[in-house]
Subunit: 324 residues, 2 copies
């Protein structure tokens, strides 16, 4: 669903805020998709911005030849119709949306609420709490700005290919305005009933499973190694049997590949500290105990303590290797 | 691999000890397979034995018309070449193999070690500790009896269809003798190096994953329900995303189907208490900590405490429902 055939239906101006591994892939999928004539991007990391605009120029979709915006106001203006937010965490989202919530100094008007015009739409694809996105959408609505809660599943490769799974929620107007952009990013757009916050709630449930599956894959492979088994054979047997999981197959392969060394970073271990921390906070509010996810979170925190925060999340296996 | 074409290669006499959900399916797969002219069966539950011999008679493979053996010595004799043990737990295996280890009164000669002749082979497909099966195989070898450690993965349906996954280990002689029978039971026979005990060790690693995946599926679906999500939609989204597992798909469906009621029993909750307890005991011996599996075991123990021991293991979700 990467193309909208009628140029009349094109979104006039899209801005992507946060172009790291996921956001950068999504921004480029939008460049490829023809959903808009113009895609801008903003990130604090200037090399990412410069690389993005080089790609945009090649496709004739950069606003200004060679420019590399350093302020949000250079990217988001009254003409911006849709903003996709793909920042790392809630604090960054709060800062970009409302100019608050960050310890850093900030121009109080250099935020989405101040810069956007009535009828524009903010789509938040960062993993945030349902509590935060509900409040954010309320504040945007009060300023006449539409808002969609739209977390994603799928790594950087699927982001780049416009093949993510999206979990979108919000009011009907916001969803209708956002839809062409969502279709350009996703192989599957799941619309979740119940208004903003419910998409993030589904994502939370998903991350609970994903996070536990990564940790238990590490626990199982470490136990297999300690027991003197051929871990490659165990890996193959499990993948063909009832113990299989998507994460065991994907991360398990990188756990085995790492050996005493390391593997390329697909998704950083600290992302699961953040995501399982969201599960922890929201589940506590809901008074819904999560003993397994809670134990898994502790293993990712142990990984941080071992200096593995920015390593591939599969390297949580090193927590086990350190104690076996 | 359910057929051996040459009748010369047929195993003269097979006995299956324990014909519950799994053993009963395996015994019938052997009847169908033509791997032997004669398959006998033993179980303490006489109705299971009577039903088996009715099936065996129809195929002309019952030793004696209409008999229903009530003693092991009626089933296992000096002519028995291969014995497949599919009992519920280690204590039952110890009792049947050596006449010890059970609180019940027992004829000290009514056990496999006493009844079998030199060169016969015992295949243990119960889920037992690596420690126990190693000792058992040593004792059998001292009596001139071959022994294979051969746990299985796959439920009763796959057992009946001869489509199990087997994890076989033992000395080469034992494996060679057992192989035709194993092939008749399995779509995949994985031979695990390292001698008896290593098959059970792979099974332990597998059950660690399987058990945790069942519990975390319950944890996630209970959280989704508490958060007001449509659990069927969550189920579908997860199955198409990185949070997927074989157990989430299989058991998750039955968790949702149960609602306030119940579902047919595929595998009893108490089986995972036993299996994760084996993981716990063996991992402790290996000094390999298993915090996630340990937490999952506690949830199955809670299920027992709620009177769910003999219910389908998916009903561990009721532990969460009781506290959410």
């Amino acid at each position: 669903m990467n193309d909208t055939s009628s140029s009349n239906s094109k979104i006039p101006h899209i801005a992507v805020i946060g172009i790291g591994a996921m956001g950068g892939g999504m921004a480029r999928a939008l460049l490829d998709s023809n959903v808009s004539h113009r895609v801008d991007a903003y990130d604090r990391a200037l090399p990412l911005v410069e690389a993005f605009y080089r790609d945009a120029q090649k496709l004739g979709k950069a606003a200004t030849d060679g420019h590399s915006p350093t302020k949000l106001s250079q990217v988001v203006t009254k003409e911006t119709s849709l903003v996709l937010v793909v920042l790392q965490n809630e604090a960054q989202c709060e800062q970009v949306c409302f100019g608050t919530g960050s310890p850093q100094a900030n121009d109080e008007n250099d935020n989405l609420r101040s810069l956007l015009s009535h009828g524009s739409c903010v789509i938040v694809s960062s993993t945030v709490t349902a509590t935060w996105i509900r409040q954010a959408c309320t504040k945007f609505r009060e300023a006449g700005i539409l808002c969609v809660d739209c977390p994603v599943s799928g790594g950087p490769v699927r982001a780049r290919d416009g093949q993510l799974t999206l979990m979108a929620s919000g009011d009907d107007d916001s969803l209708a305005v956002a839809r062409p952009l969502l279709d350009a990013l996703a192989s599957q757009v799941h619309v979740i009933d119940g208004g903003a916050g419910m998409g993030s709630t589904v994502k939370m449930v998903h991350q609970l499973l994903a996070g536990v599956h990564v940790v238990v894959a590490a626990e199982a492979l470490a136990l297999a190694a300690k027991a003197g088994l051929d871990v490659v054979q165990v890996y193959e047997i499990v993948n063909g049997a009832a113990g299989a999981s998507w994460m065991f197959r994907d991360r398990g392969e990188r756990m085995i590949a790492a050996g005493d060394g390391d593997v390329p970073v697909n998704s950083q271990a600290q992302i699961f500290v953040k995501d399982l921390d969201i599960v922890h906070a929201e589940a506590k509010k809901l008074q819904s105990p999560i003993p397994i996810a809670s134990a898994a979170l502790q293993q990712f925190i142990s990984a941080q303590s071992l200096g593995l925060s920015e390593r591939d999340d599969s390297q949580v296996v090193k927590v086990y290797e350190n104690v076996t």
